[in-house]
């Protein structure tokens, strides 16, 4: 479903993604693990047509996102690291807007919106403004929205960041169920090893833009002779702390926190 061969993306002289290759099979749940700044989000941005690769080949359901952007976009749904809902619209309006942008016919749009909002327990709140929602509800809405146009692939970029254990648990249960019922391929990144261990069929560990290990959670543990994925991860990536440079995105995030009601 996703084939990436020798992918490189440079920002100036720095290679954020450095010669990365991997395959994700249809219907699989594939996790991308790595410390801050390892190149996870950059990879997702390239796969989802938001960034162009410097070199390398990508196939998403047989399409090249760099040259067939619009066709590729119909095939996937994405939940970004930062919220991408319109806070001033209601939950229903956010879903409906998404459906129109993805050319989902009106009748089907309404049916699927109702089905997904009920599944994610948001149907009672469908006419409330998103700005009144809690963090967990917003995340659920974003994931429901990602499924609206029946994508073949769902990208989840750290979807559980900042959520409490209950919300995280519930979120993954829904994602796993939809993975099974709609056969959607899931590509996720996360910092939480327990989540990766629980939901992912296969894992790739990325550091400094390179994939340093790939396999099922059990294979990774065997390979590093550890008994938990967390220990395996630390052995693979070392235990030094990565300082990310604060950039304009962080500034805007801070501004947003101040201004959000």
């Amino acid at each position: 479903m996703i084939t990436v061969t020798n992918l490189v993306r440079k920002f100036g002289d720095v290679a954020a993604v450095d010669d990365v290759s991997f395959d994700v099979a249809a219907g699989e749940i594939f996790a991308f693990l790595g410390p801050n700044g390892a190149g996870k989000t950059t990879t997702i941005k390239i796969l989802t047509t938001l960034l162009k690769p410097t070199s390398g080949a990508i196939e998403i359901d047989g399409l090249d996102p760099a040259t067939q952007a619009n066709e590729t976009r119909k095939r996937f749904g994405i939940v970004f690291q930062d919220p991408s809902l319109d806070q001033e619209l209601t939950a229903f309006e956010n879903m409906d807007l998404h459906g129109v942008l993805y050319h989902v016919p009106r009748k089907l749009r309404h049916e699927r919106t109702e089905m997904l909002l009920k599944l994610f327990e948001l149907w009672d709140r469908k006419d409330d403004y998103v700005k009144k929602f809690s963090g967990g509800m917003k995340r659920r809405l974003e994931i429901a929205r990602g499924f609206l146009h029946t994508p073949k692939i769902l990208f989840l970029d750290e979807p559980t960041l900042g959520l409490d254990p209950q919300s995280r648990n519930q979120l993954w249960t829904h994602v796993k169920n939809l993975n099974a019922s709609e056969g959607v391929t899931v590509f996720l990144t996360t910092h939480y090893m327990d989540e990766a261990e629980r939901v992912a069929d296969r894992i790739a560990v990325i550091d400094h833009g390179k994939i340093i290990a790939q396999g099922s959670p059990d294979e990774l543990k065997r390979q590093t002779e550890t008994d938990s994925l967390e220990a395996a991860f630390l052995i693979l990536t070392g235990s030094s702390i990565r300082e990310e440079k604060a950039d304009s995105a962080d500034q805007i995030r801070q501004m947003a926190k101040m201004w959000r009601r």
Binding site: L50, R73, S84, E93, L97, H98, V100, L101
Partner: protein, 248 residues
């Protein structure tokens, strides 16, 4: 087509739902209209130019159209790094569709804002020379709004942070306003100032409004119409280009 409509509708919904913002954004034009309108009135009258309130009203309408439309584009800055923008950037619709939907939405909102200020002007004592020309005045408001919504999109696509916003405010938006002849007649100006007012598209928008509402103008109406149409094409084109270059 549906995509343009839904994005246009979104801008409109956001506008009608933020009533506090609507009221707040009427404050500034109100100050200019009432304080300058009545404050400079006697001097203006003595100089033999008639009523200043009559003169300044189209300028104040133009001002609120300018501010609202440019800000609608600069709102991209907010959406850009973490907000709703990404949702539209990965949607399977051409970027140009997104850009046109947002620009038309911003222009519509700016025109509504202009109409609100027109109503306030009427309440304050402004009287158009010919009431039947009001629809033509609205047409010129729409045209001006499209010009500056396009410019706003071009700027908004480039801006990276809030410091940039202040820069744009003080070195682009305010000069466009002050050099437009919104507040003073364009006759007999010193050379440099006269030149600057002539390259400011808002001058033509406000002059056209004055022509339509008061029957007096500095430029020929056809020239104003031409300049506005060309600037609209230019800025919307520039906005589309910058918008298509955004990498999230």
């Amino acid at each position: 087509m549906n995509a343009i409509y839904i994005l246009w509708l979104r801008e409109l919904k956001r506008y009608t739902r933020s009533r506090a913002m609507v009221v707040a954004s009427l404050g500034q034009p109100l100050l200019y209209l009432l304080v300058l309108g009545f404050g400079l009135g006697p001097v203006f009258q003595k100089a033999g130019n008639g009523s200043y309130l009559q003169f300044v009203a189209p300028g104040v309408i133009g001002m609120s159209v300018l501010f609202t439309s440019v800000f609608s584009g600069i709102g991209l800055l907010w959406d850009r790094q973490f907000g709703f923008l990404k949702e539209t950037l990965v949607a399977p619709v051409p970027r140009i569709t997104v850009m046109i939907g947002k620009t038309l939405g911003g222009a519509t909102v700016a025109t509504i804002q202009g109409l609100l200020v027109l109503i306030i002007c009427l309440i304050a004592g402004f009287r158009p020379a010919n009431w039947l020309m009001l629809p033509v005045a609205v047409f010129f408001m729409i045209l001006t709004a499209i010009v500056f919504a396009g410019l706003g999109m071009a700027i908004g696509s480039q801006l990276q942070d809030m410091q940039g916003f202040q820069l744009i405010m003080n070195f682009v938006v305010m000069p466009i306003y002050f050099l437009s002849g919104a507040l003073f007649p364009l006759n007999d100006l010193p050379g440099v100032l006269s030149f600057l007012t002539r390259i400011d598209p808002l001058s033509y928008g406000i002059d056209a409004l004055r022509n339509v509402l008061l029957g007096a103008s500095h430029f020929s109406p056809l020239l104003s119409l031409g300049v506005l149409c060309i600037s609209a094409c230019l800025f919307v084109g520039l906005g589309s280009y910058s918008f298509s270059k955004i990498e999230a």
